[in-house]
Amino acid sequence: MKILVAVKRVIDFNLKVRVKSDNSDVDLTNVKMALNPFCEIAVEEAVRLKESGVASETIVVTVGSKPCQEQLRTAMALGVDRGIHVETDDKHESLNIAKLLAKVVEEEQPQLIILGKQSIDSDNNQTGQMLAALLGISQGTFASQIELSNDKLVVTREIDGGLQSIALTLPAIVTSDLRLNEPRYASLPNIMKAKRKPIDVTTPEKLGVKLKSHTQQLSVSAPTERSAGVMVENVQELVNKLKNEAKVI
């Protein structure tokens, strides 16, 4: 079976973003960008399914400006076979991304589409579910384990209070949670090899997808910062403060 993984280029997760002084947006000039951590887990899962013989081909797709190809290369260095770049602006909303991905899915006909559950920039947690809706197919979100069993994909999902298991009819959408796997590091030979793997470049126009804005970002502001309080010397002083000063116990 063919597996498609959709990935996003985001700010490196170790960095703290700054808000622009005119409050129009966050400032990403000269900031280190990386593959979204949950997308990396999605890529790893696809590669493992290929290695174990379940998948015959793995494809990685991303939507955004030219530099996003770096993240396609990263995914291919981890083992994905080829890439698709839908070249357009970087600031598309989830529904529009899902519409573009739906078109790519129609063309490629993968049996399984894996996405990260959430990107660490916009924190929406939407695209996978929206893509499943547009395609009218099954979804297994927040997956901590997936396994193919008799033409069905058994997905263990992280839910509030525990785990849930569901069986999905293929084709299916899976969104990865933290514990699905631990992504490998790309080896130098694989990074070199990834440079020669093919990337097809397309555009929303070529895909025949008309997009419109559903939301408008009016402003972005910095949150109110918490200031540091006091240091206490010992447990007794701490309990005292909590009882008599903060009155929370």
Binding site: D160, L163, I166, A167, T215, A222, V239, A246
Partner: protein
């Protein structure tokens, strides 16, 4: 125009999260309709009808909705949300609490209606303008919806809960079947705990990588027992395999805001702070006095958690 609020429940009990979504929606001033979709969920319907401020409870009680599978549930919500035929009710908004349940369902509802979802709102400026945290809460975006129907999920820590009693809503049964059979429920493995749920607890004590292993979390339990607290963990502790992921507090885990949050052996990565920095009082216990967690703590204690925790349990 009315506002539709999707309830969360297990067919037996209305989840408290829903009350926050109701109260957030009430700020807009429209007529509030609760939607209960499930199977043999009569008790939930009774609870929903008593919530203060609710005008109507719409009920779809059919066996294909027993396990709240995303494909079936999103279709029925979208159909009702698009315009509920009796009395020509049009909905301006569809609200839900931003729990893992709603995160699974609501984006699917939005896409079926060809509208955006505005996730995890923390503030309401007007009927179409909302505030929501982005970049792990390091920035707050003010977002205007351009859609006719606004699909909204609510960060429960940013709103008060609606009052559970005093209402007398009309109950209306609907017969809408979506038995798509795209997915199938196999089973659930839920943590049975005597402790309060993380998202509703007044006191939370959390452990990080500094705990060393999962067994050492009993040291936290001893303190939690004294305070009727819940136990959480940082992503580092979950990554290291100490505890289950449903205990994770942070950007991609649970967002909490208890009266008292005690962070033990947690350095304070931005991803963790995103999940707890709205707590009323934060206590940090860490042996590294340079740990970033101290910069958000009301009270900091530098010390070895293996000495401090037993002493704390004793002192309480």
């Amino acid at each position: 125009m009315a506002i539709l609020i999707c309830t969360e429940h297990d067919n037996a009990q209305l989840k408290p999260e829903t009350l926050y979504a109701i109260n957030a929606a009430a700020q807009l001033g429209g007529e509030l309709h609760l939607l209960v979709v499930g199977y043999q969920c009569q008790r939930v319907v009774e609870q929903a009808a008593q919530v203060s401020g609710v005008a109507k409870v719409l009920v779809v009680d059919i066996n294909c909705y027993q396990h709240h599978l995303a494909e079936n549930l999103s279709n029925v919500i979208a159909e009702i949300g698009a315009g509920y035929c009796k009395n020509n009710t049009q909905y301006s908004h569809i609200f839900a609490a931003a729990s893992s349940h709603a995160k699974n369902i609501m984006p699917r509802v939005a896409a079926l209606l060809d509208v955006a979802q505005i996730s995890d709102i923390t503030g309401i400026e007007s009927a179409n303008t909302f505030q929501r945290p982005i970049y792990a809460g390091n920035a707050i975006a003010t977002v205007k919806s351009l859609d006719g129907i606004k699909v909204i999920t609510v960060r429960t820590t940013a709103f008060d809960a609606a009052v559970e009693q005093g209402g007398q809503a009309m109950i209306e049964m609907l017969d809408i079947v979506y038995d798509l059979k795209l997915s199938e429920f196999i089973g659930e493995d839920l943590t049975i705990s005597e402790r309060p749920e993380l998202t509703g607890a007044k006191v939370i004590i959390s452990g990080g990588r500094g705990m060393g292993n999962g067994e050492n979390f009993t040291l936290l339990e001893n303190v939690a027992d004294k305070l009727d607290g819940a136990i959480g963990a940082s992503r580092a502790a979950v990554d290291a395999g100490f505890v289950a992921n449903d205990m994770q507090i942070g950007q991609t885990g649970k967002i909490v805001a208890p009266d008292l949050y005690i962070a033990v052996g947690i350095s304070g990565a931005i991803q963790h702070l995103a999940g707890m920095k709205d707590s009323k009082i934060i206590v940090a216990i860490n042996k590294d006095e340079e740990a970033p967690i101290f910069s958000v703590a009301d009270y900091g204690l530098v010390g070895d958690l293996f000495d401090v925790l037993p002493e704390l349990a004793e002192a309480l």
